[in-house]
């Protein structure tokens, strides 16, 4: 089973597995690896303190000392972009994969049991989709205070819906298959049937979607910071940096262009991985739904 092969690859099998990867998967993984390493070793990679403001060196264009130039407060943009990895990638990861876990579980349960449970869960899902997210996030921030915890809660409330939809649709197909019926007649407990037998077969589409979702979530996070509803200053979040450069775009293009580019590069690496995963997991053609 390819999904498991990737998830629980033994050290020796890793190379063989990588050998089977498509070129997009290889390139994407390499890009992501570089980004992650740069984030982990940010103190080594970044030439300057990302928080230090030097009012004599404001708005410098990219040059030998400051690769990405400096921002309006005289901070080194390259260092800020590098430190930004720690925020955008980590928060993006959490708001993608935590909802995936319970989203798939909810979808699997709704699909397996059907009936009233399905009806109730699906109406909850509809509600989460139909509620304007902007109102939700502002309200959560107003009640709990701004910061990453509010983003987590607001996103957790809605981000599970797509996974639930996907898992439910797959479960509806899966539940009438022979091996499921066999497991049932053998008297296995329902939880075992759902999570041990069905799950590996219904999670594929969610895994593939999760990469696209990861990209969208990084965009979401930076969009929130752009609106002043996300990560708080002076943290070097990419979207916040784009927002800070907004008023300077005509005269100092680098402040918003380069952090935006960081988002594009990170997003592209994840998309490449998603595309490769789709192929590797036997989904012949990737369709982002």
């Amino acid at each position: 089973m390819p999904a498991q092969a990737i998830l629980v690859a033994a050290p020796g099998a890793v190379l063989r597995e990588i050998g089977r990867w498509s070129i997009t998967l290889k390139i994407g993984s390499l890009m992501l690896l570089v980004i992650v390493l740069a984030g982990i070793f940010a103190p080594v990679v970044a030439p300057f303190d990302p928080y230090f403001q030097d009012y004599d060196r404001v708005l410098l264009p990219p040059n030998g000392t400051h690769l990405f130039g400096t921002d309006q407060l005289g901070r080194d943009l390259f260092s800020r972009v590098i430190y930004g990895i720690r925020i955008d990638l980590v928060v993006g990861f959490i708001i993608t994969f935590v909802p995936m876990i319970y989203g798939v579980a909810i979808g699997a349960l709704a699909g397996y049991y059907g009936g009233v449970l399905d009806g109730v869960l699906m109406r909850l899902l509809d509600t989460a989709i139909a509620f304007p997210f902007l109102v939700l996030i502002i309200v959560v921030i107003a009640i709990l205070g701004p910061g990453v915890h509010s983003i987590y809660i607001a996103v957790f409330l809605v981000a599970w819906t797509m996974y639930a939809r996907l898992a439910r649709a797959e479960m509806l197909v899966e539940r009438s298959k022979d091996y499921m019926l066999a497991a049932k007649t053998l008297g296995y407990p329902t939880s075992r049937i759902i999570f041990r037998h069905a799950l590996p077969n219904i999670i594929g589409s969610s895994v593939v979607f999760s990469m696209a979702d990861f990209v969208l979530n990084i965009l979401l996070l930076s969009g929130l910071s752009f609106l002043g509803l996300g990560i708080q200053p002076p943290e070097p979040e990419w979207g916040a940096m784009v927002a800070e450069g907004r008023d300077f775009i005509f005269e100092n293009w680098w402040i918003c262009t380069l952090p935006g580019l960081a988002i594009v590069v990170a997003g592209t690496s994840l998309s490449l991985i998603g595309d490769g995963l789709a192929r590797r997991l036997g989904q012949r053609h990737q369709a982002i739904l």
Binding site: Y55, L73, A142, P146, L229, P234
Partner: protein, 520 residues
């Protein structure tokens, strides 16, 4: 007849520093009457449409209930009060009142109404005046608290007698407030909602159409009591995005734009077809402090925050040099005192004060309204300085509603914001900010009996010298009590095409569009 003293402004070094790039040096250079004189000197051309892009949106044209500058400054074009600010905004001049007399004891004001008409042709009657003032001065009304206790009596169809219980020198200024505009009683009463879209007033312009969220179109009020506006039409556009305003101005789509992003002001100066106007404002950008909340209840901490505030850097980096490091807790208004010494930038002193204050490490939160890039940048500079002084500081961004909600409930430490004055009398803001009995110290909980006494006395004093002295004492006391962390006396920065003549920002905020004409 006694007139309110009109003092020349002082304080800001640059008066109205207008920079003209092109050949149009003649007019529009100086605010106040200078603009009018030079405009009169040149041949005034009538007609044309002025396209005017603003970052604030007019929400309603009813002055009794709104408080946003988007609405107020639009209403000022359409509605007149009995008395109005003069061209510069520092003084007053008659409007719907032709003249007035003040009794020697300062208790009785006799107002003589002018023959004026509303924009629908109906005469402005004493009934309209009474109705409007009843609404404005209603203690339950929005700005009711700025009016002193008074009785109003109609002497005849043209004369109104106002009797005060106590002398109240700022009364004429107060009557010039937008909230004291005279509205058409019958039409307002018929439908206050409809009035918010189609107001009937007696100002120079009237509303031709009002498309909420995008455009307000004004045309001259042919029944206006004074000289007709030069323009045929004003299109006031709501353009919140500053880049869009700049581009629109450069491309010729807009004739005038308000609130030029300061980092782009230089490029406008460099453009030979455009004029940059830097006009003084009754505005102070400052950090609200909540004295009721530890550790800000400790004056040493508040002083440390002032000493550790790198205002020169903020002026340079955030405001691009536009403005002046303040020496007051309130904006520069008529009784501003230049002599008060500024709190210097002194990181060492700040450190020592924090060390000696028994600070327990409580995180001091600084609120910046989301989307307010100026507040956001200033907060980050302040944070760096304050942390160096030994304070724990966190910046938090809230939407405006939440931010002011927290202010209202006293659940805040500090907030980067600003204050502006709608009238030219020192009393208005001094009392709101520093007299605890008037407004609780404007969210600060500042309470100083001595200051309250001084301000009470200044309110009823009629001798300008006495008032000057009292306001100087107040300024010295409150500013050096570390009432707040003042950041900048920020001016208005506008830009317009060189063929726009006679545009200038008055200190309270609006512009006299009736004096503007187009040289094309």
């Amino acid at each position: 007849m006694k007139r309110t003293e009109v003092k020349k402004r002082h304080g800001l070094t640059a008066a109205i520093a207008t920079v003209v790039g092109g050949a149009m040096l003649a007019a529009g250079l100086f605010g106040g009457s200078a603009a009018l004189d030079s405009a009169a000197a040149a041949e005034v051309k009538k007609g044309g449409t002025l396209t005017f892009a603003r970052p604030e949106e007019p929400l309603s044209m009813t002055g009794f209930t709104i408080s946003d500058n988007g609405s107020i400054w639009a209403i000022e074009q359409v509605c007149d009060s009995l008395i109005e600010p003069d061209d510069s905004g520092y003084g007053l001049r008659p409007a719907l009142a032709e003249s007035w007399d003040i009794s020697d004891d300062g208790l009785i004001y006799t107002i003589h109404l002018r023959d004026a008409k509303f924009s629908n042709g109906d005469s402005v009657t004493m009934a309209d005046v009474q109705f409007s003032l009843d609404k404005a001065t209603d203690p339950e009304g929005y700005l009711g608290f700025v009016f002193p206790a008074m009785t109003r009596e109609v002497v005849d169809g043209k004369t109104l007698k106002i009797t005060l219980e106590q002398p109240f020198t700022p009364l004429l200024s107060t009557l010039s407030l937008f909230a004291a505009n005279i509205v058409h009683k019958a039409i307002f009463e018929a439908s206050p909602e409809d009035f918010g879209v189609h107001p009937v007033c007696a100002g120079a312009f009237k509303v031709e159409s009002f498309e909420r969220g995008s455009k307000l179109v004004l045309v001259p009020n042919e029944h206006y009591w004074d000289a007709q506006p030069h323009l045929d039409k004003v299109e006031m556009l709501y353009v919140p995005e500053s880049n869009a305003r700049i581009l629109g101005l450069k491309s010729g789509d807009y004739d005038v734009i308000n609130v030029v992003p300061l980092n782009q002001a230089k490029s406008i100066e460099a453009d030979s077809g455009l004029t940059l106007e830097v006009a003084p404002a009754f505005r102070l950008d400052y950090v609200y402090l909540n004295h009721a909340r530890a550790p800000l209840d400790n004056k040493d901490i508040r002083m440390a925050m002032n000493y550790a505030a790198n205002r020169e850097a903020i002026l340079k980096v955030v405001f691009f040099g536009y403005g002046e490091v303040p020496n007051s807790f309130m904006p520069v208004i008529n009784y501003h005192c230049d002599a008060i010494e500024k709190i210097a930038y002194d990181p060492e002193k700040a450190k020592a004060l924090v060390a000696g204050a028994g600070y327990d490490g409580t995180v001091i939160e600084v609120i910046a309204a989301s989307g307010d890039s100026v507040a956001r940048q200033a907060a980050q500079i302040l944070q760096q300085g304050w942390q160096a002084a030994g304070l724990n500081v966190e910046i938090i961004e809230y939407d405006v509603g939440t931010a002011f909600g927290l202010l209202e409930e006293g659940k805040f430490f500090s907030m980067v914001s600003y204050i502006t004055s709608d009238t030219n009398d020192q009393d208005f803001l001094a009392s709101i900010q520093a007299d605890n009995t008037v407004f609780g110290g404007f969210f600060s909980s500042y309470n100083n009996k001595q200051v309250t006494d001084w301000l009470t006395e200044a309110r009823s004093a009629s001798d300008p010298a006495v008032r000057q002295d009292l306001y100087c004492k107040t300024q010295q006391q409150v500013y050096w009590d570390a009432y707040s962390v003042p950041l900048n006396f920020k001016p208005f920065v506008n830009a317009y095409r060189n063929d726009v003549i006679g545009f200038h920002n008055s200190v309270t905020g609006p512009w006299w569009l009736k004096d503007v004409w187009l040289d094309r």
